[in-house]
């Protein structure tokens, strides 16, 4: 980024009315690996790409369960993410102790956003360098929120944050109208396809991606490694069908249920050799 004379301090405004330190903190979020969230009328799904430091190390955790009805995926500084995760868990459990009920998602997100805002208005603090996608269900239905270091938060139907998230957002923008009525499997497929769009090289494997789901009757569950494997397999089988759908002038809905296309399996194997994501990436 560019350096200028107004970016030393978080409590210094620029003449254009910008707080550069806060904006730089938001850059840290963009450096984190891609995280995708989307919701239907009944469920919310988070999908994340995990990075590993080296071949010897494990993949960094990105999804954290906050409470039975609520969880987050982080993008950015993992240490800051862990700290916020601890704060959120504390608030949720205190709420449960006093009220014996689950904390409304929007209120918890507001507490986190207020906490982040404080750090943008004290000269002895620095902004949090992490963006959260908060997925939860409460008495008003399923929710997906996104918070950022500036203290802003919005509710979304679908959202992606992190590096190369624009490609994932493009996929989501194309398909979000089909999300409300989709069932859980379809939602997970959509999230993985969106995630795949943000991959520049390599491909989704059960080691480098994790998925989390939550619904009214479904406690927040993280699917990793073996649990996410069936979805990845289904995704790969789907790719030839997907390419045909994209080629059609309509473009509209992506193929719903992953078909056991035995005939296409051979074609799929060949496709696996290709560079990463589906043809729509070219947009």
């Amino acid at each position: 980024m560019f350096r200028n004379q107004y970016d030393t301090d978080v409590t210094t405004w620029s003449p254009q009315g910008r707080l550069f330190q806060v904006e730089y903190a938001m850059e840290a979020v963009k450096q984190g690996s891609c995280t995708v969230g989307l919701k239907s009328d009944t469920h919310v799904v988070l999908a994340t790409l995990k990075r590993s430091q080296s071949e010897l190390s494990s993949f960094q955790r990105k999804v954290f369960k906050i409470d039975d009805h609520l969880g987050i995926a982080i993008a950015g500084l993992t240490g800051d993410g862990r700290s916020l995760c601890k704060y959120m868990r504390n608030e949720c459990i205190n709420h449960r102790y006093v009220y014996e009920s689950s904390m409304p998602v929007g209120r918890l997100v507001r507490l986190v956003a207020d906490k982040a805002q404080v750090c943008t208005q004290r000269s002895w603090k620095r902004p949090y360098g992490v963006g959260l996608l908060v997925a939860g269900v409460d008495s008003q239905g399923p929710h997906l929120y996104s918070t950022c270091p500036s203290g802003n938060y919005y509710e979304y139907k679908a959202m992606a944050i992190g590096s190369r998230s624009q490609a994932a957002k493009t996929y989501l923008e194309k398909h979000f109208e089909t999300f409300p009525g989709a069932n859980l499997d379809e939602l997970v497929q959509h999230s993985l396809r969106a995630l795949q769009a943000s991959l520049s090289e390599g491909e989704l494997t059960d080691a480098n991606c994790s998925v989390a789901v939550v619904g009214k009757d479904l406690s927040f569950t993280v699917l990793e490694d073996q649990a996410v494997e069936p979805y990845i397999t289904a995704l790969k089988e789907d790719e030839p069908m997907q390419a045909e759908a994209e080629a059609a002038p309509e473009g509209g809905e992506a193929p719903e249920a992953p078909p056991a296309a035995e005939a296409a399996a051979a074609e799929g194997d060949e496709r696996r050799e290709d560079e990463g994501p589906a043809p729509m990436e070219a947009d």
């Binding site: 102790y97 006093v98 014996e100 009920s101 209120r107 507001r110 409460d138 008003q140």
Partner: protein, 284 residues
Amino acid sequence: MLPRPTTHSKALGPGVAGPELAVATSAVLDRPPQPGAHLPLSGAQPCAVDPATLADPRQHTKYPYVTGTSVMAIKYKDGVLVGCDTLGAYGSTKRYKNTQRIYHVNSKCVVAAGGEISDFQYITNLLDELTTDDYRTDDGIELTPQEVHSYLCRVMYNRRNKFDPLWNSLVVGGVQEGKPFLGMIGMIGTHYTDSHVTTGFANQLARPLFRERQQDDMSEEEALKLMYDALRVCYYRDKVSINKFQIAKVTKDGGVSISEPFALDMRWDYKLFAQPTKWAVGAW
């Protein structure tokens, strides 16, 4: 419950729990004489001050002063009914005849209390803060009766742990996710939920009626009739009650409505009331 010491002070009358002034304890009797201890340091006209309080003015709640008597509540088909009288008694004196002992929390919930009225006012203040916060947040979410019940239970238990209880028996009534909800909390944090709850004398007087006649699918008419009978019994047999009642109704579709105070017809011409000892053993 803790036994309430009675005083034989002529000033207060028999059978009344009064402040410590009326009871001579060893703390007062065995002390060396302090001629000016009861006089204000400022030299102003003395008023009656308990000498023991000059040592430590702070005290924990020991007795209630202005009290409400029983509260009774039942579930019925459409929601809940909560009934009580409107008396704030000062010992045996029927002093405040206009106290509303039912508090409207939000569109789904009411809280009613027996026991110390000032403590109940404090509790309604706390609930007011919570509902104001919900209003300010403006996200369409308000406290459910079950959450109010859990919250009050925590408050009462915490105070009990400090040996400074809020001297109340609370009834929480409302509609929770379309279904009627009734809960009770005692002054030491004991709590439960049930299809009918009672506090104070109603435990002994109204509960048998409720056990016999209350059903979760009662119609409103039947429920009102049962409530009137229970209120009547409590007035007949509770010395510290008046014939002026309020009933709160909370329903799924109608929200909360607290009735204007009303009186029930009573009969005092029963022969046994008129001449209670006529057939007693040994009477002539």
